[in-house]
Amino acid sequence: MSENNGKLDFAFTLFNAMRKDNVGYIYRGYFTQSITDNILALTESSLERAEPSAKIKKRVYSIMVECLQNITRHQEDAEMDLAKAYGIFVIEKKNERYYITTGNLIDNKNIPQIKKLLEKINSLDPEELKNYYKEVLMEGELSEKGGAGLGLIDMARKSGNKLSYDFKNISDLHSFFYLHTIPSLTKEGGDAEGGEDSLQNIIGIHEILNNENLLLIFNGNFNQETLVNLLSTVEGQMSGPTSFKKKIFYITVEMLQNIFKHGDSLNIIEDGNPGIFFISEKTNAYFITTGNYITKDKIEDLTTRVEYVNNLTKEELDDFYNKRLFNFDIDDNKKSGLGIIDLRLKSGQQLYVKFNDIDNRFAFFTLQAKIPKA
């Protein structure tokens, strides 16, 4: 237990950190076409709900597309241990404003060229930027990879604001290149300054994710739609034998449905329940963690049930599951009475729970399942 308690606190800390800055979605890992598509689908559906302006929606979406293409196009450059080279994609919304950040590994020798290009882009006004775009397009000064320069110019044009960026050296050969875009809320653009602070915050979070080897984090409201999109991402991201991938899938489904079936919301009506979900990879196991609000009256019952299930042997668990399977007194839209038993059976490990105090009525409930690697 002791080994895990630190990590359980970490869920609440991360939830608070992300909530504070309204960081909605972080993906860290290898970017494939299907993962990119899923990220877009997931963020598009939250945009759909959260953003009333069609113009801003479109602007944010098209910048996201450009950012993700930028990552997929350049991640292969890295000739090093894949996990250390994992790129990152982050979207957050603060005070009506969106912040889109990407980080990907680049060769140090490319830094001066990228820096020069970004400095140039940031020095131009919209009209000059438009001309520069045309110029680059016509001269065909495209990199071998296919238009990285154009991508950045295009991003700056769509954003309407200066691009913030940073490089973080990680070895003699490589650095992470961070690009931070704040799409303008007006047609004229130039309405956002000071992306530096929010960029540094993301760089800090990326460092935590790298240290903890966190692969996928979603912070936001959970409902069936989020589940479907997250599942596709998880499926695309996990590698290993089929049986192992299926276990991860099963456990993810139960834990996410648990958030929106049994969690609570501090506000009265939200589309789904707020919470956090992440997957981390350690040497011998994966950890799937969820955190969500619950009313305090549920704590005792939950604790008892988890403790009970944790102390059963494999045979006892099987019997208990069978009994519950035929117990139709517990069978409504929310409860089957099987979720926790199933998590324990599928993972083959004890479940970890933790409650953090929020106020008189609510607590933050962290649940973690450990899935040993095959």
Partner: protein, 124 residues
């Protein structure tokens, strides 16, 4: 009897129940948020079917994933079939993907608890 044909979605299964053509199938993913609502028409159809069933009913489960609330609805389907099997021939074909031991053991669990003939079929 009108057949039920429901196409699969990302979180609900394909359902094909057709008495005339002797087809009884539930396939793909069953992870609905509200599984009771999803399975209700299926129970109703099956109960009606048992009033004038075929000599032999071969019910196929070809599932890729199902959540725990679907597990309970599958139990209900099997209980209807178990009742049918007291007078008629009923076989449950439980498909599982190669290497998907969790799906195989879920089927074996039902086979142990429900008094019907089960056959296990591996597929790619």
């Amino acid at each position: 009897m009108e057949p039920i044909v429901i196409e699969a979605t990302e979180d609900t299964p394909k359902v094909h129940l057709d008495a005339v053509n002797n087809k009884f199938l539930i396939a793909d993913r069953s992870l609905p948020e509200n599984s009771i609502e999803f399975y209700q028409p299926i129970f109703e159809w099956l109960v009606k079917y048992t009033e004038a069933p075929k000599e032999k009913t071969n019910f196929e489960f070809r599932l890729e994933y199902f959540n725990t609330s679907s597990a309970k609805q599958i139990t209900k389907i099997l209980l209807i079939l178990e009742k049918l099997a007291t007078t008629w021939e009923v076989v449950v074909s439980w498909y599982y993907k190669k290497e998907d031991l969790d799906m195989l053991s879920s089927g074996q669990r039902y086979a142990k608890l429900i008094n019907i003939k089960f056959e296990f079929v591996e597929f790619d």
